[in-house]
């Protein structure tokens, strides 16, 4: 990683391409948040690569003025792995959707997380396939009516952050497309060395409008959003409520904000992270950095091993082809 910081403005990060999402799409808000965040990261445009799969969200790289690679459906993580291994100096962002990352691309998502490639993964979760006109996705709730499920979907959805946790992710966070905290979440993801998994609740106005309204709507936000901060108490509803551990049932419970049993957020606690990610009805939605426990990155380990294995050896091509048990043929070949 190049540690020099570079001075840029949000505008520097916008490409000359016309943005082609539906009017009102949450993707616009995420784009703005990212463009606004980049200057604060002190990174250079030429050292930044956005790699995406296919989907509405995956159009994202075209709108950034950095390097960008709009790949194929579900494979962004795999391609990004090659990019980063080939040039670890590059700051790699993976842009993906709930279909791209969790339907066709689920396996690569798991592997990039367990390997802990140093990159930021922004998963735009709109609980729908936007680009292909609104079929339900693996994150759609049971009963979702869509062109492919006219009578409602029956399969139980996967919880993206829980999947990331199960896959061995070392950084898991959540944000909301239009929420002011999104830049902070992005900054934390960038600061984390390793695969940073960020689920962004993104509203698809055309095919799944207001699917997150139950916790994003202004009037319920405070009651329904728990913004986690490392070392701080888990409080919400303007501090009037908090989370504590039910020692009997060994699970989380909601208590009054001033209850001394309110627990403090330790992002390294994986067991608690599992509980926070899937809180039942009546609980708020955990947002911000839910889990963070750094480990060596994949590319650093690969490069270290490449170096160690090469140490003391020289890339002698003639020597290489001449290896093994050899023999000389001295005499002239038959005169033919």
């Amino acid at each position: 990683m190049n540690e020099m910081t570079t001075l840029t403005t949000a505008k520097d990060w916008a490409s000359d391409q016309e943005v082609r999402w539906c009017p009102g799409c949450g993707d616009y808000a995420v784009l703005k948040a990212v463009q606004r965040t980049m200057p604060d990261l002190g990174v250079a445009r030429e050292k930044t690569v956005f790699v995406s799969g296919i989907g509405c969200s995956s159009r994202f790289p075209y709108y950034m003025s950095s390097y960008g690679f709009h790949t194929i459906h579900g494979r962004a993580a795999a391609i990004a792995t090659g990019v980063k291994l080939a040039n670890p100096e590059l700051d790699v962002w993976i842009i993906t959707g709930d279909g791209d990352a969790l339907s066709i691309g689920g396996n690569h998502t798991m592997h990039v997380l367990r390997r802990n490639l140093n990159c930021q993964i922004l998963l735009f979760n709109n609980e729908i396939y936007g680009l292909t006109k609104g079929q339900y996705s693996p994150t759609s709730r049971v009963g979702t009516r869509s062109p492919s499920t006219p009578f409602g979907s029956v399969d139980r959805p996967v919880t993206p952050c829980m999947f990331a946790l199960g896959s061995g992710a070392r950084f898991i966070a959540r944000g909301i497309d239009v929420h002011k905290n999104l830049p902070d979440v992005l900054k934390a993801a960038h600061a984390h060395k390793g695969a940073s998994f960020v689920e962004i609740y993104q509203n698809c106005v055309v095919y799944n409008d207001d699917v997150f309204a139950s916790f994003t709507q202004r009037d319920v936000a405070s009651e329904k959003q728990l913004w986690l901060k490392a070392g701080e108490k888990m409080l919400f509803a303007a501090g009037t409520k908090g989370l504590a551990l039910d020692a009997q049932r060994l699970c989380l419970k909601v208590v009054a904000g001033d209850d001394p049993s309110v627990i403090t957020h330790d992002p390294r606690n994986k067991g608690i992270a599992a509980m926070l990610i899937e809180m039942p009805e009546g609980f708020p939605v955990a947002l911000g950095v839910i889990y963070e426990d750094p480990a060596p990155t994949f590319e650093s380990a690969v490069i270290e091993q490449n170096k160690a294995a090469a140490a003391g050896k020289s890339p002698d091509l003639q020597g290489l082809v001449s290896k093994g048990q050899t023999w000389m043929v001295e005499k002239e070949p038959h005169q033919l």
């Binding site: 391609i79 792995t81 048990q325």
Partner: protein, 627 residues
């Protein structure tokens, strides 16, 4: 000498030297591949030309004594050029009844069987499906038979080293190798050196194995056997002077890819997912990190190629390798490499199919997949190696084409080439022309845009590495405008880009050599046209035909797509074209489509290479019917 560059003249072809085919066969636990490998080395050191054919079961360790657990290693060596592992063994060494059962039929009439009678127990006979002991019931009358108790002789020989019975019996293969070395008048020292090195940490095992080796050798020398069992000396084969070694196809391929990247002045990124018979390439390259190689064992074939594409995008040479079923999974991503015009080498070590098929058997049946096997108009160059040694040069050629033309490329080899060994004259790398890659790094003039899809006179776009200031741009799999590369779906643009992709690949023909005739004359009555690992049997068959006075030529094609510029004219010069392939006639389709010549197929899909005699017979038949 079975090297890529050395082709026999007709004169040489008509003066046959002496050659012998030996097959070692035993249980998969008997170490036959090791025995074969060491015998190969000793053969090479004796200056014979040679070709080998390892044939092992699909199971890791099949149950002892069963026919499907038989592992065999065949070697053909001689005082003249050897191109195939031989049609019919002259000598079969059978370590147990199952090995005899499976392999006896292949032996030439009058050939020699050497059997370990110690293993011909009632139980083993039953497992192999013998009702009586064939060593005793006269059923092997067509062949010459000698048998002795190799198991017991080995146990006796290694007794001083205090091994358990099981471990002691593991030395049987060295006893057998000792006997074989005696039979062909070979030096034991290189094998002894190798054993010492191999068992450096367990000297008693080294000593026991050496004792077994010596005992086998001594047995040949001292015991008086019948007539068939005598010592042969095969004179050294004529060969260009120089330094030699043996290589398997997988080794040569690995070396060639390393050389190709060095000549291109590029770090290599090798992404692969294990699959038989492609895995050895990954294993070889994983040890060569000092050459700027990153190997990446991906979660599947799709991730393997995708990571390679990502690495090429970032400025390394992305290479991926698999076998047919794995390459099938890569086809969508190959389309992305075609659209983004990034260099990429896809190696396919073909095996028997369809589906899981016959993982350890050889076949050439992925040519359709290589040439045509993608959605949309998606041309990629295809080249094919014809022998283990040739794989070296093909790999270099693959790297050259992929980087010069910014294109994915398919490099075909097969299970036979991957595993077979042959002597190889170590190339002088200073004779190879380098083709260093130059990334594009000139930022556009003020007010002008980045042009990732500008093209040079060969229609090739620039390679711009992320990290280059001032050239930030976006690429992807959607159709795009010439020059800027911006998304563009308009009719004229799609037509133009499709034509351009097509012409760029077709234009590769300008930088490849004209197709040569290996042997025989242009304009002959019959051309036998091959590609890939059929080289050996075709070449020998055509040489024999020439010796018989038949007007036949051998044409062997490395560049399957695009083909050399002169290909059409050359093929039309022959009255008949016969295309032997280990598939149902795939290259024949390409030839007929491209040149509208009445190419006829000779097909074989049995998991085994062609026998020379099969091709000879087809030559005879074609000439008979064609005149």
């Amino acid at each position: 000498m079975a090297t890529a560059t050395h082709l026999l003249t007709e004169k040489e072809a008509t003066s046959p030297g002496e050659a012998v085919v030996v097959r070692f066969a035993g249980d998969s636990g008997d170490g036959m591949q090791l025995t074969g490998g060491q015998f190969t080395l000793s053969t090479a050191l004796a200056g014979n030309d040679l070709a080998t054919f390892p044939d092992f079961p699909a199971e890791i360790r099949a149950p002892q004594g069963t026919t499907f657990g038989v592992s065999a290693f065949q070697i053909n060596f001689g005082s003249t050029a050897v191109e195939t592992a031989g049609d019919e063994p002259d000598v079969l060494i059978a370590m147990n009844p199952a090995a005899l059962k499976v392999n006896a039929e292949a032996l030439r009439e009058g050939g020699l069987i050497i059997a370990d009678e110690g293993e011909f127990t009632a139980r083993n006979l039953a497992k192999a499906g013998y009702e009586q002991n064939p060593l005793e019931d006269g059923s092997l009358g067509r062949w010459q038979l000698v048998h002795f108790n190799i198991s017991q002789l080995t146990l006796d020989a290694v007794k001083p080293f205090g091994l358990g019975n099981k471990e002691a019996l593991r030395c049987k293969n060295m006893w057998t190798l000792g006997l074989a070395l005696w039979m062909f008048d070979r030096d034991r020292q290189p094998i002894i050196d190798w054993l010492k090195q191999k068992f450096a940490k367990a000297p008693e095992l080294a000593e026991a194995n050496i004792a077994a080796l010596n005992a086998g050798h001594a047995y040949g020398e001292t015991v008086e056997m019948g007539a068939p069992f005598k010592q042969h000396h095969i004179a050294a084969a004529p060969a260009e002077p120089g330094l030699y070694r043996t290589v398997t196809g997988a080794e040569a391929l690995a070396l060639g890819l390393v050389a190709g990247c060095q000549l291109a002045d590029l770090p290599m990124f090798f992404g692969s997912y294990p699959i038989t018979p492609a895995s050895p390439l990954l294993h070889h390259l994983a040890r060569l990190k000092e050459f700027g190689i990153t190997t990446f064992q991906a979660e599947d074939e799709i991730a393997a190629i995708c990571a390679a594409i990502g690495a090429s995008y970032a400025g390394q040479l992305g290479i991926t390798s698999s076998s047919g079923p794995g390459v099938a999974l890569k086809t969508e991503a190959i389309g992305l490499a075609i659209m983004t015009e990034l260099p990429l080498v896809v190696v396919n070590s073909q095996r028997g199919g369809p589906s899981t098929g016959l993982p350890t058997k050889t076949e050439q049946s992925d040519l359709y997949q290589a040439v045509y096997g993608r959605n949309a108009d998606a041309p990629v160059p295809v080249i094919a190696a014809r022998s283990p040694a040739d794989a070296f040069d093909c790999a270099i050629e693959a790297c050259r084409i992929a980087t010069r033309y910014m294109t994915p490329l398919m490099l075909l080899t097969d299970g036979y080439i991957a595993n077979a060994a042959e002597p190889w004259r170590v190339p002088d790398m200073s004779n190879y022309q380098s083709f260093p890659v130059r990334y594009f790094s000139t930022p556009p003039a003020e007010g002008e845009g980045v042009m990732p899809y500008a093209r040079n006179e060969e229609l090739v776009r620039p390679w711009i590495k992320p990290g280059t200031p001032g050239l930030e741009h976006r690429i992807g799999g959607i159709e795009k405008a010439p020059g800027t590369g911006n998304i563009d779906y308009s009719p004229a643009v799609h037509q133009k880009m499709t034509d351009t992709r097509w012409m760029k690949v077709a234009g590769i023909a300008q930088s490849i050599p004209d197709q040569e005739v290996c042997v025989g004359r242009q304009g002959a009555k019959l051309a036998v046209v091959g590609w890939g690992s059929t080289f050996g049997p075709i070449h020998q068959a055509v040489r024999r035909a020439l010796a018989k006075g038949q007007d036949v030529a051998h044409v062997h094609v490395r560049h399957i797509w695009p083909m050399p510029k002169n290909m059409g004219a050359l093929l039309r010069s022959f009255d008949h074209v016969l295309v032997p392939e280990m598939n149902m006639g795939q290259f024949k389709t390409v030839l007929r489509d491209q040149f509208l010549i009445d190419a006829k197929s000779l097909t074989k899909v049995s998991g085994h290479p062609f026998r020379i005699a099969e091709i000879e017979a087809a030559i005879d038949a074609t000439l008979r019917s064609g005149t």
